[in-house]
Amino acid sequence: MSVNTGALSWILLNNEIMIKHEDEFSLHKDKEAVRAYFLEYVNKNTVFFYTLKEKIDYLIEQNYYVNFYEFFSFEEMERVYKFVFDKKFRFQSFMSAFKFFQSYALRDDSGEKFLERYEDRVVAVSLFLARKEGVEKALEYAEIFINQEYQPATPTFLNAGKKRSGELVSCFLDEIGDNLNGIGYAVDSAMKLSSIGGGVSFNISKIRARGEAIKGVEGRAGGVLPIMKIMEDTFSYANQLGQRPGAGAVYLNIFHTDIEEFLDCKKINVDEKVRIKSLSIGIIVPDKFMELAEKDEACYLIHPHTVMQEYGTYFDDMDMDKMYDELINNPRIKKKKINARHLLVKIAQTQKESGYPYIFFKENANRHHALNGVGKVKFSNLCTEIMQISEVSDINIYGEEDTIRYGISCNLGSLNIATVMDNKRMAQTIKTAMRALTVVSDETDIKMVPSIAKANKELHSVGLGAMNLHGYLAKNFIMYESDEALDFANTFFMMMNYYSLEASMEIAKERKRTFVGFEKSAYADGTYFDAYTSREYAPQTDRVKELFEGVNIPSSADWANLKAAVKEHGIFHAYRLAIAPNQSTSYIMNATASVMPIVDIIEVREYGDSTTYYPMPYLTNDNYFYFKSAYDMDQMKVLRLISVIQRHIDQGVSTILHTNSKDTTRDLSKYYIYAHKLGLKSLYYTRTRKSSIDECVSCSA
């Protein structure tokens, strides 16, 4: 779309939502904007085909689609197209339509004309995922897509079925070893993974600190900052064919001596050489640190290289609860004394200025981790919901064998809570969604980064999430901060856990194959099921009981049966669930994002490429009150709800804190303390709502 003279009518209409008449927004303008967008833009710019056959053949012959004829007859494909188009799908808001056509619809090579509508994309994804299972499976996938019950993550939804496309997987993580080969491997991986469209996250805690020894000569090491600079440039260079900027994150253990410098890189007025603009940063916080802060005891940062020389292992791999005292009492370990509470406040200050860092609570992530018998979770990803085992690979010089260990690969998708609940198809939708995610894992082989490929091949991890929690609650007149919301979440996410496990067990049974290491997991010894066989999770409040009417809720007896079945057949996926923040995809689904509260009744959305006004789904004059902004909510209550969800999720939940300018560093720090005590595994961004000066003047006057 090129801007020349005169504004585009649909953008104008979408902006006119904000004009108030008698104190009400002009919500109807949004529907007019959708209509204008289709009539004046989409329809005029869509390639027309006389018949379905002509369309399919053209797309295949012109190298847009893979050759679906290798897997389906024309008649089979026609069935799927007919099924999907007969559903008469309509976009509910301008944002949904605009986002789909801007970012997902297939265009011709000139970039001018659309070759797909929403329905076409749904069919292409369904056919592609079902190409080895047949047309019946394609219809199943198509149904959950077009009903908007389940939405695959962007890489899958964008790329599936296209001949020239990126990978279907979204998310990669890896460790970096403390030597040039290890760093080189990481930079190389970053570039390759970024170029295929992944968000990449690295744990840089193993890198020796600034001023440590290199080859025994003290004072030579550059620390973590120079590596972050290289990473930042690498991600910005290797974007996905210029389609979207590369994105990456790095995590540092809070006991690493470079931690203060690491946090300072996001400050506004800092030297260009040490400023990190586009790379995301996260910190790894062991329980020990929170304990030192609580007791207000002296806290020592540790020089990682001295630990390696003394003990032969990385300090980041150690259990700090056990090893911290040993390390600080050992005179050969170099350390630096700081005040833990002051560091918490510094984190809060950095968050107020930049939204960063993410916080990963290491022991919380490992406390109920089912694979503790295999390894530990050490860090998280770009959106703080992926939490899996990892171990640094040993990369050698040319001619010598590398020892490749687990990186992390994860593909994601989200249930739409509102449609799944309304259609009362939880069991079926979750199982079909798990199949769709499994196909993506099966089909993925990131050969160019062997540690990632190994993890996918052996662990088959996926991450099923959920969106539209606030939308669903509001639509049913339930306040997000209420006890009823807790009640709903406790049952809903228990069911997600149950049916995803059952699906994973069924797949293992069919294929006679489990993930590698299953026998050492808490699934195999049955301890994972203790929380479910010992109590019921059915709803307790009347309002929520009504919502689940006609839905079969798994009981403790069902869980006991599942436990036995898992013991017998194993499960296929090492990890199954992760609640992603899902931004773009929630717009297409006309849903509220993830399990987070909304930010505004009409959201002002800035992307790199547009500003759009998005009235919240289901918003009417009757339920206005239930669409309370996250900025006006008690964050403690938000965290409480997330902690209930987290109980049932084997990986993490992307959790955003919404604060106001007037919130102090102490207020923020208290959120971290509370989140940690609640057992949350991570905190994602902190967003801040600015106070405008009008507000200030009127308050003081």
Binding site: D609, R666, I673, I693
Partner: protein, 328 residues
């Protein structure tokens, strides 16, 4: 008898707004190099030559106004303000004006060639409407460049400054906001939005100081008439300037409406009633002005919402005593 020098004492408030504006200013602190206008290079290539031309002129004009404000306006006014805390806030604002003036260059140097940039700067020097704006405002600043100007002279300089900040800038801001609302030159618009957020508090603050002085004037009606006359004088020129910059891109009518809208705002900052009838300001631009929180995707753009944190509050023992049991 030698003059007594007084130290600024922030422990005793001199009025009820200086500290408030000081803090808000500090919170809003930013520098141009935090932003990444290079992301706009593709967009720059995409937009039409006419729009490019208008964009460069708009930014060139803005640079001139910010230069005038930081080099002459603010320093001259500071000289004649008696409240030391107000002086401090004005000095800070003066420094920000210099950052604004430089930040346009940051955008220029990212998207334009040196030859094009030089061309624009000489256009700024040659354009009679732009020069007229600068000269008109400058005359009021120069009038107080002496030992003991009258209250009226100081007031008029302040009023001129408010007209500059709250009114004359906006014909230039229109285009970046309008483009940004349609997804073009978005990263550069981040910078423009920071400038607008600053200018809006500058206009209010200087306006409040002006109102304090206005109250002391014996001939208020006559002075008010002078301000309105000055506004009309500048307004006529602004219409011509708008035509010159925006006619080729077909936005003249919209920009003029926007100019009237902001003229009214400038008057309100000075404590006067609006005089122009404004029907409907282009909603894309109006919405772009809303500087409250917007949602954004951290991976694709930098946020304009974060502020420098000025207040550090430490943790106490009781902050760790929390009940984290959830009964469900």
């Amino acid at each position: 008898m030698s003059k007594k020098f007084t130290a600024v004492n922030w422990n005793t408030p001199e009025n009820d707004y200086a500290l408030l504006f000081w803090e808000q200013n500090i919170k809003q602190f930013w520098i141009d190099t935090e932003y990444i206008p290079s992301k706009d290079i593709d967009s720059w290539k995409r937009i039409s030559p006419e729009i490019k031309e208008a964009y460069k002129k708009a930014l060139g004009g803005l640079t001139l106004l910010d230069t005038l404000q930081s080099h002459t306006g603010m320093p001259k006014i500071i000289d004649h303000i008696t409240c030391l805390q107000n002086k401090a806030v004005l000095s800070y604002m003066c420094m920000m004006e210099a950052i604004h003036a430089k930040s346009y260059s940051t955008i220029f140097s990212t998207v334009s060639s040196t030859a094009e940039i030089n061309e624009i700067f000489s256009w700024v020097e040659e354009n009679k409407h732009l020069q007229f704006k600068a000269a008109t405002i400058d005359a009021f600043y120069r009038a107080i460049d002496k030992e003991n100007p009258t209250d009226e002279e100081v007031y008029m300089a302040i009023a001129a400054s408010v007209l500059l900040e709250s009114f004359l800038f906006y014909s230039g801001f229109f285009l970046p906001l309008w483009l940004c609302g349609q997804g073009e030159m978005v990263a550069s618009a981040d910078i423009i939005k920071k400038i607008i957020a600053d200018e809006s508090i500058h206009g209010i603050f200087v306006g409040l100081i002006g109102q304090d002085i206005f109250k002391k004037l014996p001939n208020q009606a006559a002075v008010k008439e002078r301000v309105i006359a000055l506004l009309h004088h500048l307004y006529e020129n602004e219409l011509k300037y708008t035509e010159e910059v925006y006619t080729e891109v077909g936005l003249t009518a919209d920009v003029k409406e926007y100019v009237r809208y902001n003229a009214n705002k400038a008057l309100m900052n000075l404590g006067f009633d609006a005089i122009f009838e404004v029907k409907q300001v282009n909603p894309i631009v109006l919405n772009g002005l809303n500087t409250e929180t917007t949602q954004h995707d951290f991976f694709s753009k930098k946020s304009t919402n974060y502020e420098k944190s000025t207040e550090i509050v430490h943790l106490k023992n009781e902050d760790f005593e929390m009940d984290a049991t959830v009964n469900i």
